[in-house]
């Protein structure tokens, strides 16, 4: 964890004491500090550009809810369904996450009104904070609730992704919950602990090429005000950040630091991966396995030829749906976690590893992230690309009321992407499996083993998963 209240050792840092090695300013190896680029510095330093983008996304969000609730009931002709589940969902997985980690969180409209209420102002915080500002219960910390939220989406996905009313109510519920939680709890409790998309983006942000980090740890440790922590709406303390999973890239710490000691770094892909874990918490490992299982399940339901499976996922409350729900939960909550645990346990036995199994699971689960991210992107090629032509139709007629705003003809046909999609999907999965195997091999030896025996059981897990995924997508 990277929150100040969770980082006991931070309290023990005395002014003037040394924390780590003092690195030379602005020359962190393999990093390019984008904040040093003058035009980008100016763009990030002012709150206005970000505010304008967030205001636009907020307007778009409210409009989306309106079209969901009052527009056409036919999903493929409804602005909300197409813009949320085809356009935005694709952009998130193919753009924001792989190139910017949690960058979507920096412009997400959902917590915006809550931020304003909490701060008592729009651009500048007022002295008087509103709301109860309670701490989030310690027992509910971590990504357990986000994982559960994602499972819930998966259980009802066939309806949520195709029924405009359901999409509208889900968006409205998330919006209301975010506002309500901002009035009860401090910081962005909704984003940190509830939002399933936050969990999804956060876990894969570890492999992304962007990070906010302290430039010189010594300067930071000596600084008594901790203005970065005071400014962070997420309640993070940058000096204590071990990875990028919790940072929403809002840039408030960069703006607040009087020492100009924070950097927005461009870094090599996967910089947070392949390192021994700093805790033995299983929540992120579980989330990583759920993401892996969900990509598999969604590929089967939405891109497979099995109509009975689609109908089962769609007919909520029926016996067929109960069977689907049981299968989905067993796959994600029991089968994959049990199989992965068995693989790690086997390796522990084979390599005579002295580390506790729990710690090994947390460590080895890092290898699941590249494969999971690439599996999601590969699935999206099949899921969303054939439907991208529907975007023009709903921009032309957002409510399905017969408007012709763009004078464009609408189509309900799927685009033929067979010329490139099977090759692109396989290429993406190859990148994922190569990357995951590399991370797993890197971790071998750093987990308490005295030999460098390759983790064959976990590598076999990747192999089987990838083959199933390839079969689902191009078979």
């Amino acid at each position: 964890m990277t929150r100040l209240q969770d980082t006991l050792w931070v309290d023990e840092i005395a002014p003037g004491s040394k924390v780590g090695r003092s690195s030379k300013r602005y020359s962190i190896p393999s990093r390019v500090n984008l904040y040093r680029i003058p035009w980008l510095h100016a763009l990030l330093e002012s709150r206005w550009p970000q505010f304008l983008v967030r205001a636009l996304t907020l307007i778009g969000f409210v409009f989306t809810i309106t079209t969901a609730l009052f527009g056409s009931r036919v999903g493929s002709h409804n602005f909300a369904i197409i813009m949320v589940w085809i356009a935005w969902w694709t952009t998130l997985k193919l753009g924001f996450i792989p190139f910017g980690g949690r960058s979507w969180c920096s412009i997400c409209p959902i917590p915006l009104p809550g931020d304003w209420l909490q701060n008592g102002g729009i651009l500048v915080k007022s002295e008087r904070k509103r709301g109860l500002n309670l701490r989030w219960p310690k027992s509910l910390r971590g990504s357990w609730l986000q994982s559960s939220g994602f499972l819930l989406i998966g259980l009802f996905s066939a309806v949520t992704l195709t029924d405009p009313h359901v999409t509208g109510w889900v968006l409205l519920a998330l919006f209301t919950l975010a506002i309500g939680m901002s009035l009860v709890f401090e910081h962005r409790a909704f984003c940190s602990y509830i939002c399933p998309i936050g969990g999804f983006s956060g876990i894969y942000a570890k492999s992304a090429p962007v990070e906010v980090r302290v430039v010189d740890k010594e300067i930071c440790a000596k600084h008594g005000d901790k203005s970065c922590y005071q400014a962070c709406p997420w309640g993070l303390y940058p000096l204590a950040m071990k990875d990028s999973s919790a940072c929403g890239l809002c840039m408030e710490c960069l703006r607040a630091c009087p020492k100009d000691n924070l950097a927005l770094n461009l870094r090599p892909y996967g910089s947070d991966l392949g390192r021994p874990p700093t805790s033995s918490r299983l929540d992120e490992s579980w989330l990583a396995l759920i993401m892996l299982g969900s990509a598999l399940a969604f590929s089967a339901v939405f891109t497979g030829p099995w109509g009975w499976l689609k109908s089962s996922a769609f007919e909520i409350g029926s016996q067929a749906w109960l069977a689907y729900a049981a299968g989905f939960l067993v796959l994600n909550v029991l089968f994959l976690p049990a199989l992965f645990t068995l693989c790690v346990w086997s390796w522990k036995k084979i390599s005579h590893n002295s580390s506790p199994l729990r710690r090994l699971i947390v460590s080895q689960a890092q290898g699941l992230l590249p494969l999971g991210l690439m599996a999601w992107i590969a699935f999206t090629i099949s899921f969303a690309f054939p439907k991208l032509n529907l975007v023009l139709g709903v921009l032309n007629d957002p409510f399905g009321w017969g408007w012709h705003l763009l004078n464009a003809a609408s189509s309900s046909n799927s685009l033929d992407v067979s010329g490139f999609s099977p090759y692109l999907q396989v290429a993406l999965l190859l990148v994922g499996v190569f990357w995951s195997a590399s991370v797993t091999r890197k971790l071998t030896g750093s987990d308490g083993t005295h030999n460098s025996f390759p983790n064959i059981p976990v590598l076999a897990f990747y192999l089987v998963y990838s083959i199933v995924m390839v079969w689902l997508l191009v078979g």
């Binding site: 999903g75 030829p305 054939p386 191009v474 078979g475």
Partner: protein
């Protein structure tokens, strides 16, 4: 001194990757038997109901002259096959036919082309023309990527 020590190691590493690249080319280019018999004429009868084709997986041989008879059992449904630029639309209770030569080998999805309900965009079937050689090659490549990743990550 340091550079001299590194040079042979780098060249060995270079050879490893060159061998891997050669193996990748072999997996991509090695001829795989199509596993097909002589082309023939086939008529395939498909029932389309909401979000489902029955049968949903069609298997033909390369070169077959295929006629698809599409029957819509509830509402209007369509059928368009990726890679073949064909479309049939069937009214409820009626049969629509398309005939084509299955001259492209591999696995192709077909979709409903007429909005038929919420899951219409996901009403999908599959046409398999001969052996799906890309799937076999892809599985081979996955194995090689796994090995290469493990090789690269070693200490």
């Amino acid at each position: 001194m340091k550079d001299q020590n590194l040079q042979p190691q780098n060249s060995i590493r270079g050879w490893h990757w060159a061998i891997l690249a050669a193996l990748v080319l072999v997996v991509l280019l090695v001829p795989i038997p199509a596993g097909a018999t002589a082309p023939t004429e086939r008529t395939l009868h498909i029932e389309a109901s909401r979000f489902e084709y029955n049968p949903a997986i069609l298997k033909v041989n390369p070169g077959d002259k295929v006629t698809i008879e599409l029957v819509a059992t509830d509402v209007v449904h369509g059928l368009s096959i990726d890679g073949y630029n064909l479309e049939a639309i069937a009214d409820p209770g009626k049969t629509a036919r398309i005939t084509f030569i299955a001259n492209r080998q591999g696995s192709f999805r077909f979709h409903c082309t007429t909005t038929c309900g919420n899951l219409h965009p996901f009403m999908i079937g599959k046409l398999e023309v001969g052996r799906n050689t890309w799937l076999l090659r892809a599985i081979g490549l996955v194995g090689m990527a796994l090995f290469a990743g493990a090789w690269k990550g070693r200490k």
